[in-house]
Amino acid sequence: MNRKTRKFCFLLVISLVILVLFSLFAILTAKMKKNQGPPTLRIGVAMYSQEDTFIRSLVQNFEQMAQQRESQEGIRININLVDGKSSQLIQNEQIEHLITLDYDILCVNIVDRTAASTLIDQARQAEIPIIFFNRQPVMEDLMRWEYAYYVGAPAEQSGSLQGQIALDLWNDQRERIDINGDGVLQYVILEGEPGHQDTLIRTEKCIQLVTDAGVRAEKLISDTANWNREQAAAKMTSWWQEFGSQIEVVFANNDDMALGVLDVMQQLQVEPPYPVIIGVDATSEALEAVANGTMSGTVLNDGVGIAQTMLELSLSLYYQQDPAQKFTIENQSIWLPYRPITQKEIEQFLTQQENAAS
């Protein structure tokens, strides 16, 4: 190797090393600039339907709580909401998309409770913890992966509590409720989605509690209104034409449908007192109706509690802490109890809510 060649090689090597080091420095600087600010927890939230008042308010609570927790935790919490429009196919695509976007946690209000296994398998493959809420997946599916959880309330309790409200009124105000005085409680049931677990259990339990207590009951009619206020109003309009004031009690699987019944009473200018109308969820509009006596009662599905628990669970999983230290977990599920709300409890309940908000 002559002197010229040696010199050329030496310069080449030096230039190469400088070039590589410079590029490395530039890239690292850009990367640090990009990563300025606190770390970000990214949560994908999939709703079965944005039309559902209870779910909408639950998710709204979740977002507000997350915003408040950001400053406490010193992190950013980015929430991406997607609406499944009551289609499991749409929701599957949305979850797949959230997984490709590399979200840290998935919160899923599943459309079809029997379809959870695919979602859990996808989440497991991507190593993204998945939290189901309010619509309980099949237990065997949930147990497929240790990072799959459920947060919600036990469905059978809500049905029984509706029954308890009706039973208490029957015992306390028999003359008002037993309109035809035959000693038999005539009722109708507005059911949620056909085949949905909450629909089946609430429909069965609400009347079971009444009959188990020795009250004779007669079902005039029942039908599905898909959790929907307008559909419930349409059903009730035709039932009222058919049965009129024979209807003594209306059990609705949720508050939106109960409010649909109330809409009909008002549209048809039925003179109060209306039949006993009992819903589930304790939405703000239903609480208002209970307070003014147009609805007889509702059962609190603790949307605020569910939102709070989902957020805490998400944070625990993000920080790789054991959620069992914070929650009582039974079969990977965290249960929040239902609570009956009638005119007797409404004032106390509203005061509690106001205090909690302030």
Binding site: V17, E63, Q67, L101
Partner: protein, 309 residues
């Protein structure tokens, strides 16, 4: 000696090349961003949150975010319409590295941030204009006011008294709409009473109709009128379910509506275009005056009863 030096040089070359290879591999690893790092982050700061008022706008924003690979952060002051809280949120988002901002300003004070050049990232406002060159996606306030005043003038003679309510006196967008209403009512020689949220109940009995060009407050006023069983016609703006119900039962005589979904989409698209250096959108939401009898016109139905975006 010469041979030793030559061997040493060869060894040096091999070592340097080896290091270069290793560094190149390392560079590759750090230089390719993760999926989440690659997405632009846009913070959307509302002045208050009410899903029936803002839900459509948000859906439009989410669609644009999905189309442009952006991630949205939706933030709302804990106290509705609090300018100081909103200012804090804006500053915090910029500090934390937001790539863009969409702001629905609560008051003039928030717009001042734009005028003072404190906003260092691409931004857009909705509802209220900033004086500076910040794009704003909102229906034309002048036109909104004109349509509301014309609707009232069709229903009442100028012997009638109009009550103009401004629920948010510091909000420039709402203020501009009301100024326009007032201008056209004065041209038609109507008597006008002006009120804020503090004194409108006192003035209500003296008025024949009410004009309130802000959706959330109008919904509140509707329920108040219903509770008090007062049949005073209302003229307002918006396309929420409560406004639709009001049009249906004629407690609202007329409402100015526009495509909120499009408004939200355009706002996010504007920022995404700026960040991606592509041509920005230029259209603005068009306004339509709707009464009960023309609620079901095809064009109005698209806004009042949107089916699955």
């Amino acid at each position: 000696m010469k041979r030793k030096l030559s061997n040493f040089m060869q060894l040096g070359i091999v070592a340097a090349l080896g290091i270069s290879v290793l560094l190149s591999i390392f560079i590759q690893e750090v230089s390719f961003p993760t999926v989440s790092e690659n997405r632009m982050e846009i913070s959307v700061i509302f002045r208050e949150w009410n899903s029936s008022t803002w839900g459509e706008i948000r859906l439009g924003m989410e669609k644009a975010a999905s189309d442009y690979q952006a991630e949205l952060r939706f933030l709302t002051p804990q106290e509705a319409n609090s300018p100081s809280e909103q200012q804090h949120l804006i500053e915090q988002e910029i500090k934390n590295g937001a790539n863009g901002l969409v702001v629905i300003p609560a008051a003039e004070q928030v717009l001042q941030l734009f005028s003072d050049n404190k906003i260092t990232v691409p931004s857009v406002t909705i509802e209220s204009h900033s004086d500076e060159q910040i794009p704003c996606f909102t229906p034309d306030s002048e036109k909104v006011g004109q349509l509301l005043a014309q609707a009232a003038a069709e229903d009442f003679t100028n012997q009638a008294t109009a009550l103009l309510i401004n629920p948010l006196p510091d909000n420039t967008g709402i203020q501009e709409r009301l100024e326009s209403v007032q201008k056209y009512l004065i041209e038609d020689h109507f008597s006008i009473l002006s009120a804020t949220s503090d004194n409108w109940t006192e003035l209500l009995p003296q008025s024949d109709f009410v004009i309130l060009p802000e959706t959330t407050s109008a919904v509140w006023l509707l329920s108040f009128l219903e509770e008090e069983q007062l049949a005073i016609p209302l003229y307002t703006v918006g396309y929420s379910q409560e406004i639709i119900n009001g049009l249906e039962n004629e407690s609202i005589r007329a409402a100015v509506i526009w495509n909120g979904y499009g408004e939200g989409y355009l706002a996010v698209q504007q920022i995404a275009s700026k960040l991606l250096k592509t041509p920005p959108p230029e259209s603005q939401p068009a306004v339509i005056l709707v009464r009960k009898e023309d609620m079901y016109e095809p064009e109005n139905q698209k806004i009042l009863f949107p089916i699955g975006h």
